[in-house]
Assembly symmetry: C2
Homo-oligomer: 199 residues x 2
């Protein structure tokens, strides 16, 4: 006996494919969409189609954009001598929220991960080296995630950048603001100790 | 400075409107859809459009269906003298999974909730009474959620059903299987005591 109509089970299956959406959440979302207005459903469907239609990679920094070059690369207010290298487009969003960085970005689209079959050739590393060679770049900030894969990727890129005579820096590690010393892990705490500063 | 392209922020906004999807999850889902294949995105968008296009209410039981009457109401194997009344279509799915119930369903589409402006007229209660009057119904099982609103709704419907001379039952309350006596709340435990059975 077919309990639920085919279009409903198909929508539940499709939502279930998304990360962090289990079968229970998928059912709840599907019935929410069913109960909602037709306009809302169409807006959601159109937004999904539009990102696939209109979004491209910026030919300079490989961030996601709907115009090429992207707004950051095309801006006259940005310091073109600094390039901050990140793993994912979401990292750019996080860094822009700080309003601290006025340079350009370079998105690698992942980190080196031999077990998952991601070699340096699968990342936008060659493109970064080309930018350093062809443009007047003074400083490269390696802003990979502070974990094993991120550090391995940063160290790989660092070795390739040294011969090009560019200054290479990385983000500070230490205690996160609002964190609790008592609950900090040993590596973070030992990094915070090593990086201690005069007040 | 526009950090993310408009189609991306629009998709994040649309996903953020869904229940249990906050801004962080919405970004993660949006970038997952962006990274995924175009076919996957189209399948998801089409599934969303299809539920709004193809899904209707069954004219008998008011469950969601793509054919009228629905598969349960149209089946010859179901006992038409029993009607199980539930709040939501998802409750039908849960009950069908037990494979215990062979009667028909009636979906109210909510519970009485004066504070939220849901009066008995907004639910499919009149339609239930019509079914009891016009069809040969022997038993009505009131399977509302075991909470205050569910119980108020069940008690309201019960009063209307009594004059029609139909047998009205409700689901047993007690300890859930796999639960822990120690952690059971007082009401559940006192219900389990009151409803104790000979083994």
């Amino acid at each position: 006996m077919r309990i639920t109509a085919e279009p409903v089970t198909r929508l539940i299956d499709e939502l279930n494919k998304l990360p962090t959406i289990g079968p229970k959440t998928a059912s709840r979302l599907a019935f929410y969409i069913l109960r909602g207005s037709k306009d809302d459903a169409q807006a959601l469907a159109q937004a999904i189609l539009d990102v696939k239609e209109k979004i491209i990679y910026c030919s300079e920094c490989y961030n996601l954009t709907d115009i090429d070059p992207c707004a950051v690369c095309a801006s006259k207010d940005r310091d073109k001598s600094q390039i901050c290298v990140v793993e994912e487009p979401l990292d750019v969003v996080a860094l822009e929220k700080t309003r601290e960085f006025t340079g350009l970005y370079h998105v690698l689209h992942g980190h080196i991960d031999p077990l998952a079959g991601v070699s340096p050739d699968n990342l936008k590393i060659r493109e970064l080296l080309d930018r350093v060679r062809l443009q007047e770049v003074r400083e490269i900030i390696l802003a990979m995630n502070p974990n094993v894969e991120g550090r391995a990727t940063a160290s790989y890129i660092h070795k390739l950048l040294v011969p090009l005579g560019v200054s290479v820096t990385t983000l500070a590690t230490g205690l996160p603001v609002g964190g609790d010393l008592e609950y900090a892990d040993e590596v973070t705490l030992s990094n915070a100790l090593k990086g201690r500063r005069h007040i």
